[in-house]
């Protein structure tokens, strides 16, 4: 396909550059309002271009579409190469969508003087994250992968809570250590590619790296190296402890993006790197990963019950729900029946990621709404909020129910598909995964009950004001997304039909 405009580059760099401009222009008095509108306009423009890409996208193809290739560091075989397929497009759209919500709701969350830098950081972060999804060159991916952490680091560092230094360092060290292993693995693959003379030239193209012939031992080492990088991001048990801390300390917008997008990069990395590059090792270690996922689901579900910090609770719930993603991805290796049904696991994982983006984003927004009014995240400081904030209570209830996987909301679709797939591997997997149905209700609705229900006993609660128009707008958008995805997920599934099927073929086809 030949498109005259480098749409993907525009989607990546337009927000980044406008973000940079906003930061530079922040000092100029009088421009403040204009800059705010600029940010929103840029965001809407990006969403429009993305929508155009979605419109033009062929869901039944697995090849990279809208591809761009430019030489970057030709001596090392590194290219600036972009493209979208059925996995990256929904996630990129999710990124832009959630960023828009954050921008909408930001004025209620941060001080007016900080609003422009806040916007700028989010725009930059959005661009870089989109870059992660669009990159088709391993090194470019790695660069974006690392670069997107910087705005997040700044964000938590600047607007975070009391314990932000500990949290940021934990977060950054965890993820950097993980990604170092990824870099080593990518370099190793690169040299294998050269030595194998597969192409005869140096290359980091992901597509080439996916088709190398590797011995089983090599695969196993590479598997663990790459798994570590992505497992930290997902995060899988037991490398999850950075997430609750980071979420607790991050400002609302940061939490939203962290939960909605950053975690997804882990899952996306597994689909893009781990599965196609080292399928044999994946098959060999599938049981291990599934067990870890189930531990994440059950153990973390239990841990979430006893949290008394709302953000921590939601963070733990994120870990548990992301456990479903890894379960879905790796359950496909143990399917006994026809392999063509394995696509359901991949589809389920993707849908679960998208939907978890919406839901956890929504829940964090809810906490943000409460926090901006009472400046506390402790569950015990609330009670009876539903009396004074009925509209908010309705939205919060919807997100809470989506979080427990109520059919008709997006939360159900992914979990349903993954549970269906997991049974094909083993009934026990299904049983343990389904335990989250109970635990999810326990922690989510227990929190809801303690925060929202009951009589108003505190003066602070009695004086709460219900949602403002900006908050309402954000919640309505999110609600629409959650319901549409829940009631009719098929369009999204068809968008990634080709990619998902091809991945399954690539990974399991040889068996």
């Amino acid at each position: 396909m030949n498109y005259s405009l480098p749409l993907l580059s525009i989607i990546i760099w337009l927000p980044v550059f406008s973000g940079g401009m906003i930061i530079l222009a922040t000092k100029l008095q009088g421009l403040s309002i204009a800059l705010r509108y600029l940010a929103i306009i840029v965001e809407l423009l990006t969403l429009m271009i993305l929508s155009y890409v979605v419109w033009q996208f062929h869901g039944d193809m697995w090849q990279m579409q809208f591809a761009e290739h430019y030489k970057w560091l030709p001596n090392l075989g590194i290219e600036y190469a972009l493209g979208v397929d059925g996995f990256s497009l929904p996630l990129a759209f999710l990124t832009a969508f959630m960023t828009l919500l954050v921008l909408i709701i930001a004025p209620t969350q941060v001080a007016p003087k900080d609003i422009n830098p806040f916007y700028a950081i989010f725009l930059i972060m959005q661009g870089l994250m989109t870059g992660v999804f669009f990159a088709t060159d391993a090194i470019l991916f790695y660069v974006f992968f690392e670069a997107m952490m910087i705005p997040m680091f700044i964000l938590i560092g600047l607007w975070g809570g009391e314990n932000r230094v500990y949290a940021t360092f934990k977060f950054i060290l965890y993820t950097f250590i993980g990604s170092l292993f990824l870099l080593v693995a990518l370099l190793y693959l690169h040299f294998v590619a050269i030595n194998a003379g597969y192409t005869g030239v140096q290359t980091f193209a992901i597509d080439t790296l996916q088709h190398l012939t590797l011995s089983t031992t090599e695969q196993k080492y590479l598997f663990w190296a790459m798994l570590f990088a992505f497992a930290v991001k997902v995060p899988m048990w037991p490398v999850h402890t950075w997430l609750p801390d980071a979420h607790t300390e991050a400002p609302t917008g940061g939490s939203v993006i962290l939960a909605a997008i950053t975690l997804k990069i882990g899952g996306y990395g597994m689909l893009r790197f781990l599965l196609p590059m080292v399928p044999e090792a994946c098959a060999a270690f599938a049981t291990t990963i599934i067990v870890l996922s189930l531990i994440a689901i059950v153990y973390i579900g239990l841990v979430a019950i006893v949290q008394n910090d709302m953000k921590k609770l939601i963070a733990y719930s994120s870990i548990a729900h992301m456990g479903f993603v890894t379960l879905g991805i790796f359950a496909i290796f143990q399917i006994h029946s026809a392999t063509n049904t394995a696509g359901m696991g991949i589809d389920g994982a993707m849908i679960q990621m998208i939907s978890h983006g919406f839901i956890s984003g929504g829940l964090f927004l809810c906490v943000g709404v409460l926090y901006s009014r009472l400046h506390t995240r402790k569950i015990s400081d609330y009670g009876g909020v539903a009396n004074t904030m009925p509209v908010f209570a309705a939205f919060f209830m919807l997100f809470a129910l989506a979080n427990v996987g109520l059919p008709g909301t997006s939360g159900f679709v992914g979990e349903f598909l993954i549970i269906l797939t997991s049974f094909k591997a083993s009934a026990w997997y299904t049983f343990f995964a389904a335990i989250l149905f109970v635990l999810g209700v326990a922690y989510t609705l227990l929190m809801y009950k303690r925060v929202m229900y009951g009589a108003v006993t505190k003066n602070s609660i009695a004086t709460l004001t219900d949602l403002g128009s900006a908050e309402k707008l954000a919640f309505v958008l999110l609600t629409i997304a959650i319901l549409i995805l829940g009631i009719w997920p098929n369009p999204l599934l068809q968008l990634m039909r080709g990619t998902s099927d091809h991945l399954v073929l690539q990974v399991l086809g040889s068996n």
Binding site: K170, V303, N340, L420, T430, F431, F437, A455
Partner: protein, 648 residues
């Protein structure tokens, strides 16, 4: 052949539309418009479903099974959203819509002064929508959708008065217990997909005998489904949520916790009869659990004093009957009892609500008495409900209950004999608690305060009219439906293996029309059991009022056990909850904070700090130390070259 797609869509969309309008624009519409819209749309839906039922009864319509759209297409499997309308679902739809409409109307009066008026109508319309989806589903995904939908709406409605701690406790408990059942349910659904490669009823049922070849598979599926049904239909030990759910507004108790949602489990098992038929093990479990529930919950009902809880326990007991019928493969009997129960139990609840409102939210029957003088219509309705429930020959409840008892007696499923004696004896218990309720509320001396007594009056028309309207089917529905049901009204919707087919056996040997069944009843045991119960209640509560206390003294252990509701709640509160809590605490504090964060994460940070503390000592700050190290390094490199040259 008429196309019934528009009808189906009208039936299902109307309540949804009502919910959306009252939910989103309730404030703008105002109370009056809100209930007009909600009730109006329900009426439309009800009318359509009546038309449909009439068509099916006339044989004008054939079972209809279509998909509306593809919900998801993944892994080569199409999961759709569509409807299956056959005799079973049409009957259910009509019942659900009728009760729901009555409850809608009743709520206009009952919820009149509530600040959450519009919200209430939104919820019950949405509930109706979910229930209809469940009933009309033609695949497992949609079944699960409706299943969860009614669960959530039940959660929201039990907690409707969310500022009451007891209500929010009860609704969370209800949802949690339902979710425990859902674990079984979803595992079963996954198993169905795994073994048949489809979630569509038709193709799954077509392969049922293939699955049956693998006895583990069919047992897993059926027991899983039954666990789901047991939670929703409140069977032991997952029944604990239902009595607590009485915290919700009374119309809800009538609609959800008597007539519709709790019977979803029964409906589901009947719908899945092609699967259950092949699993004798599951049938036995169902039979035993159902019988135990009938018996034990009936006993508990005898000692309760809260009017709604008495009815709740009686609901449990009646649900047990239905489940026993299912276990005996008399699915049609179970469904018939479901239908009659929906009518007479919603009367009981709505009449109880009428009493409660009249007494200014007093629910303790020890504070009532002699109400028949003040509230004749309520009394009449309650009386009809109770007579129907205890199975007075000729009433609706009689036919269904007698059918169940007869068929269980014929059943050859293991455990059937045991179940037969239990359900028979339960008739006696049913009569006791029913008449106890009736006597203590409507007879005996008035025990409420003077103040209330002076203002006692019959409830307004919006409350009494639904009661009267419901009384009609509570009397006649059984007689009308019995011969249809016995002669295979459900057709292909319910599948029974020949060796299990107790209903046709009954039809062939014992049945010759509703009237004969009525006449015949006086020669059979159940009627006398019921009569004995009634007499016992009369003795205890009217003739010899100190009798109960003497029995209690004589048998205080049993009494305490019953007051404790056999200790299920206590077991949960003392064993399950603390165990889960302490495991969760261990996971959180020891697992996460101490082990992972303390030892691994912060531990490695500490190791780095310690090591660098050691390394720091090397930094003496003296120039010559640094030069020394430099030269030493140079020396080592030279040595390396030397060694390479000499030995390399």
């Amino acid at each position: 052949m008429y196309d019934i797609k528009p009808l189906a869509i009208i039936i299902i969309i109307s309540p949804l539309l009502g919910a959306i309008m009252t939910g989103l624009f309730g404030k703008a519409l105002g109370k009056r418009n809100s209930h007009l819209i909600a009730c109006g749309l329900m009426t439309i839906s009800f009318a359509a479903s009546c038309y449909l039922l009439y068509g099916f009864l006339q044989g004008k319509y054939q079972p209809w099974n279509r998909y509306l759209y593809t919900w998801a297409n993944s892994g080569g499997i199409n999961i759709g959203v569509g409807f299956l309308l056959d005799n079973l679902s049409v009957l259910m739809v009509a019942v659900v819509n009728f009760v729901s409409l009555m409850v809608h109307v009743y709520s206009i009066g009952y919820m009149h002064d509530d600040p959450g008026y519009q919200r209430f109508f939104c919820y019950i319309s949405l509930f109706t929508f979910a229930m209809l989806t469940l009933v009309m589903a033609n695949n497992f995904m949609q079944l699960f959708f409706g299943w969860e939908g009614v669960g959530v709406l039940s959660y929201l409605l039990i907690g409707f008065w969310f500022d009451r701690p007891s209500a929010t406790f009860a609704n969370l408990k209800a949802f949690l217990v339902n979710r425990v059942g859902d674990v079984g349910f979803i595992v079963a659904i996954a198993a169905v997909l795994n073994y048949t490669g489809s979630l569509d009823y038709t193709s799954v049922f077509a392969q049922a005998s293939n699955i049956a070849a693998n006895s583990n598979a069919i047992n897993l599926i059926c027991i899983g489904l039954f666990i789901g049904a047991a939670a929703k239909s409140a069977q032991i030990p997952l029944h604990v949520w239902l009595p607590d759910s009485m915290e919700g507004p009374t119309p809800i108790s009538a609609l959800i916790h008597a007539a519709t949602m709790v019977t979803a489990g029964v409906f589901m098992i009947a719908r899945m009869s092609p699967l259950f038929e092949y699993s004798e093990m599951a049938l036995t479990i169902i039979l035993i659990i159902g019988a135990l529930t009938t018996f034990m919950m009936g006993l508990v009902a005898i000692v309760q004093t809260d009017i709604k809880r008495i009815i709740a326990y009686s609901t449990l007991s009646q649900l047990g009957y239905m489940v026993v019928a299912l276990g005996a493969s008399a699915y049609a009997a179970g469904i018939l009892h479901l239908v009659t129960h929906a009518f007479f139990k919603s009367i009981l609840f709505l009449a109880a609500g009428s009493v409660i409102i009249a007494l200014h939210h007093e629910q303790d029957i020890m504070q009532m008495g002699n109400l028949r003088r003040y509230m004749p219509i309520t009394f009449a309705a309650m009386l009809i409900g109770i007579l129907s429930m205890i199975g007075l020959p000729g009433m609706a409840g009689f036919y269904s209950k007698d059918l169940i008892i007869e068929t269980v007696a014929m059943s050859k499923v293991p455990g059937a004999t045991f179940a037969y004696y239990i359900v028979l004896f339960s008739v006696f218990i049913t009569a006791i608690y029913s008449f106890r309720l009736l006597f203590l509320v409507f007879y005996t001396d008035a025990r409420m305060s003077q103040d209330i007594q002076q203002h006692l009056h019959e409830s307004p028309k919006v409350i009494t009219i639904p009661l009267l309207l419901l009384s009609i089917p509570a009397i006649i529905s059984g007689g009308i439906l019995i011969s249809q049901v016995v002669h295979g009204f459900f057709g292909s919707a319910i599948f029974v293996l020949p060796q299990h087919d107790v209903i046709s056996e009954f039809a062939v040997h014992d049945f010759s029309g509703a009237l004969n069944m009525f006449l015949h009843s006086f020669t059979s045991l159940p009627v006398y059991f019921a009569l004995a119960g009634g007499v016992a209640a009369w003795l205890c509560y009217i003739k010899l009022p100190d009798m109960p206390n003497r029995i209690i003294k004589f048998n205080s252990r049993l009494y305490l056990l019953l007051i404790d509701k056999f200790g299920f709640d206590k077991f949960n509160a003392v064993v399950i909850v603390p165990i889960v809590n302490s495991i969760a605490n261990i996971c959180s504090n020891f697992g996460d904070k101490t082990c992972i964060d303390g030892v691994v994460v912060n531990g490695s940070a500490r190791v780095v700090v310690k090591t660098s503390g050691l390394l720091r000592r090397l930094q003496s700050g003296y120039l010559y130390n640094y030069t020394f190290m430099m030269i030493a390094g140079l020396f080592v490199i030279l040595l390396w070259f030397f060694v390479l040259r000499k030995f390399g």
